[in-house]
């Protein structure tokens, strides 16, 4: 939680420096307000550096989450000038530094303090999704064979760093607060990764349609736009899942076929 790189007093080898203002949300789960902090910024700095400097210089109790500082852990999600972004990957030179830069917590989640939000809902949703269940091993030594071409699509989904920016921006959650009924884009990516995993034999489409309510998504692609891992959430995860749900539950031929099917799909696959 401490400031590590780019402290203001270390001016040698820092390149060009100038003053900038950051308007940072300070508050708890009840109230809060934007507070302006001035700090010195230099070449190559990201928003998280500025937050660390502010912690060291003038607000040691300014709460924020961060870990890797390299866009790999997905901890430092926030809304910067109103846009959901990772603070560690947002360079100041892509922002208008003539105006104060606003930094506030993700608004779709309850506030804990300052930039930290309660994201525990995401962990609960994930836990209710049926876990990975592999088919029997392909080889006698207990291993499987999978081909690169067959795993590439799933590998795209597995790049997800669980920053929850997609959840933050999704209007079903943000505007309509359907947290009790809808799993959100992150968990459709997760379910798509499981459903399209070459080894997986679990039946999950009932969950995707029912308790996770994929039908609420009307494909506005807001989630895809904010994904720092550039996962094509809507096109590659959500739409194919919607198609699978349609095939499984609404397609008349499948329906007819199911009438004659003796056993549920999960058993059949085994």
């Amino acid at each position: 939680m401490s400031p590590q790189r780019g402290r203001a007093e270390r001016t040698q080898d820092m390149g060009e420096q100038r003053q900038a203002t950051f308007s940072v949300w300070r508050g708890d789960h009840q109230t809060g307000k934007f507070v302006d902090y001035k700090t010195t910024v230099s070449e190559g700095m990201v928003v998280l550096d500025a937050i660390h400097q502010i912690q060291a210089e003038s607000a040691s109790d300014l709460a924020c989450r961060w870990n890797c500082k390299a866009g790999k852990c997905g901890s430092c999600s926030a809304e910067i000038n109103g846009k959901p972004r990772l603070m560690c990957m947002t360079r100041l030179d892509v922002l208008d530094m003539t105006q104060p830069v606003t930094v506030e917590p993700m608004r779709s989640f309850p506030s804990i303090r300052d930039l930290v939000t309660d994201v525990s809902w995401n962990f609960k949703v994930k836990k209710r999704i049926k876990p990975f269940k592999p088919r029997k091993p392909d080889a006698e030594d207990g291993t499987w064979r999978m081909y690169q071409a067959d795993v590439e699509r799933v590998q795209e989904f597995r790049k997800c760093i669980e920053c929850f920016l997609c959840q933050d921006v999704c209007h079903v959650l943000r505007e309509h607060h359907k947290h009790d009924e809808f799993a959100g884009p992150r968990h459709f990516v997760y379910q798509a990764a499981l459903e399209m995993h070459p080894l997986d034999v679990e039946e999950r489409l009932g969950q995707v349609k029912g308790e996770n309510a994929i039908g609420y998504c009307n494909i506005t692609k807001c989630c895809t736009k904010v994904c720092p891992e550039h996962i094509a959430i809507t096109d590659n995860a959500i739409i194919p899942l919607k198609e699978r749900v349609n095939d499984e539950f609404y397609d008349p031929i499948t329906k007819l076929f199911r009438m004659f099917r003796a056993r549920p799909k999960a058993d059949r696959k085994d």
């Binding site: 400031p3 390149g15 230099s42 109790d61 962990f123």
Partner: protein, 605 residues
């Protein structure tokens, strides 16, 4: 002052840390039906394992069938300059393959060979392509797999909690005391067995690839509980961290770049790694760039390029180039993967496919397109080979009921860790620690908690909030990091280390009167003040061990003793807290290897 309230929990096995080692230990322990709790400083899935890039070493022989556990064992021992715990090196080499395959059974998807097996890549110090990987985000694949599997095993997770102290019942552990970040409430965990899986100590240094969490908590908790630490002088400085712009200094650039053919050049354009090849590796290293490239593309008759020598050596060569005035403008050297366009037509797509996060990291943070231009890189504090002294088989420390696995444990890596041996370390020894912790807990239930011990720990933790006008913990931490970087860093000498030891003593006094504003709810200033005590313990241990080893070996380089010395060839350095509270340094002879293992070393040259 009133009595701080403590929320009490009870577990048979308590695991501290939720990276690869902690999660694997928890899964193992839970599989036996015992009640398991995991305390972690961050949210689940954010631990430092997530940053591991290159891969996970296991001699599965999927790419080169000459590989087997004996070669992996010999490589690990050679890389560690034979100071390794040979039993751990053996267990690790034998079991790593099973642990990789187990991850696949839990849903991990590694990159594939043409015949559909797990693909393995080249890495420094490994004789054959051995690293199971997923592009350059292997750590994410591993932690997510363990997390997604682990949440269904009935384990209790305490996210964003920090442990302050281990509680003792006589000479055995009884539990732990800590606080939750959100509300600042104190918690007591009763547990007959505790597994430390807290990772490393990188935050003791200014330039590091490690996150804020890496404050040596497990090392210090074990030390204060009376356990021994071992080999603390061996801190790995990864040769390639980013150097520019300043805000990204230290962020890791995976060794996978060199595994895929990346070369190191100085400001004169010279591939300086060919200039100094250590005797131990002479017959394993390419004689010219052409042979090096043939190795990269899988020619089994070729030897590996000198960029894939061990990390300690590569880091020192880089420092030499910089010191002698042949560095890049921002104090690094050049790492070039773009040059492979001379060798392959679709090089840009190939680089983006093999090193996607490096591509984005440089593009986004440094404005460099690595498919077209060279990267500027320099050494960064990366990994602690040293740690809690554990039994090679059970992973129990010298304190009864206290186990350690992963980076916080010492032994597997000796004087220098090979890339890729860390991820496999986590799961091999995480599993063993979990297994043996259960065994201990079942045989030794119901330790007694000393409530006065609990109260004094909580009161001490609150002191920085109750003082005013004291030192800023950020300042103390920054001073310590600067000092460790300058005086106990990659090149060391006696006078400077002695100064550092004095400096640590005076910083300890400052830390003891640090004060922070605000309240106990999610207050990073307070957390920094609390963590400082751990950072000071590990810093002192590193400095004292480094001072005692009057030679250069592996990651430990002394300007005043630049050569290896036989007198230091067969002992580990141990530190523990003496009866008077002062740190005691002791040299301990390494027991001789059984012949079946020493024969492997002889045979592999």
């Amino acid at each position: 002052m009133g009595t701080p309230q403590c929320i009490t929990h009870e577990h048979q096995v308590l695991i501290i840390g939720a990276g690869g080692a902690g999660l694997r230990a928890a899964i193992e322990a839970a599989s036996t039906g015992v009640n398991v709790g995991v305390v972690c400083k961050s949210l689940l899935g954010k631990a430092h394992t997530v940053m591991a890039e290159g891969g996970m070493a296991a001699s599965m022989g999927n790419v080169d069938d000459r590989d087997n556990w004996r070669v992996h064992f010999a490589d690990t021992m050679r890389g560690g300059q034979y100071l390794n715990n040979w039993r751990m090196a053996e267990i690790h080499a034998r079991q790593a393959g099973d642990r990789v395959r187990e991850l696949e059974a839990w849903g991990a998807i590694f990159d594939r060979t043409r015949d559909g097996k797990i693909l393995q890549r080249n890495f420094g110090g490994h004789k054959y392509p051995r690293l199971a990987h997923v592009g350059d985000r292997t750590g994410l694949e591993m932690i997510r797999t363990l997390q997604d599997h682990g949440i269904h095993q009935g384990i209790e997770f305490y996210m964003e909690f920090t442990v302050l102290e281990i509680l003792m019942d006589g000479d055995r552990v009884a539990g732990a005391v800590g606080y939750d970040r959100e509300k600042g409430r104190f918690h007591l965990w009763k547990a007959p067995a505790i597994v430390l899986a807290t990772g490393g100590i990188g935050r003791a240094f200014k330039i590091t690839s490690n996150s804020w969490e890496y404050t040596g908590d497990g090392h210090a908790l074990a030390y204060r509980a009376g356990a021994e630490l071992k080999d603390m002088e061996f801190v790995q400085f990864h040769p390639t961290g980013m150097v520019w712009p300043p805000s990204v200094r230290g962020i890791l650039v995976t060794e996978g770049v060199r595994g895929e053919g990346g070369v190191l050049r100085n400001s004169q354009g010279r591939r300086f790694m060919f200039d100094d090849i250590p005797d131990l590796y002479k017959n394993q290293t390419a004689s010219d760039p052409e042979e090096g490239w043939r190795y990269v593309i899988g020619d089994k008759d070729a030897q590996r390029p000198p960029e894939l020598l061990t990390r300690d050596h590569v880091a020192r060569c880089i420092v030499r180039e910089i010191r002698e005035g042949r560095g890049s403008p921002h104090g690094g050297v050049y790492l070039d993967i773009a040059w492979i366009k001379e060798k392959m037509r679709n090089s840009e797509a190939h680089i983006r496919k093999k090193l996607p996060s490096m591509y984005h990291q440089f593009k986004q943070l440094a404005g460099v397109d690595i498919t077209k231009d060279a990267m500027e890189v320099g050494p960064t504090t990366h990994y602690a080979m040293g740690g809690v002294n554990v039994d090679g088989q059970t992973q129990m420390s010298t304190v009864k009921g206290l186990f350690a696995c992963g980076e916080v444990a010492a032994g597997l890596h000796g004087a220098n860790r090979l890339g890729g041996n860390s991820l496999s370390d986590l799961v091999v020894f995480g599993k063993l620690a979990g297994e043996h912790a259960v065994e201990w807990a079942r045989a030794h239930p119901n330790p007694t908690i000393d409530n006065s011990q609990v109260q004094s720990i909580c009161r001490a933790a609150l002191e920085p909030l109750e003082r005013s006008g004291g030192e800023s913990p950020y300042e103390v931490q920054a001073t310590l990091q600067d000092m460790m970087q300058d005086k106990v860093g990659i090149v060391r000498k006696e006078s400077e280390m002695a100064e550092a030891i004095d400096g640590i003593a005076s910083l300890r006094k400052k830390a003891a009167c640090a004060s922070v504003p605000g309240n106990i709810e999610y207050n990073p200033g307070w957390h920094t003040a609390v963590d400082l005590h751990n950072l000071l313990v590990v810093s002192e241990a590193v400095a004292r061990c480094a001072l005692d080893r009057k030679e250069s070996r592996g990651a430990h380089f002394r300007d005043d003793y630049p050569a290896k010395d036989e007198a230091h060839a067969s002992h580990n350095t141990i530190v523990y807290r003496g009866a008077d509270g002062a740190m005691v340094v002791e040299r301990r002879e390494i027991t001789a290897m059984p012949t079946e293992l020493s024969d492997i070393i002889k045979e592999m040259g």
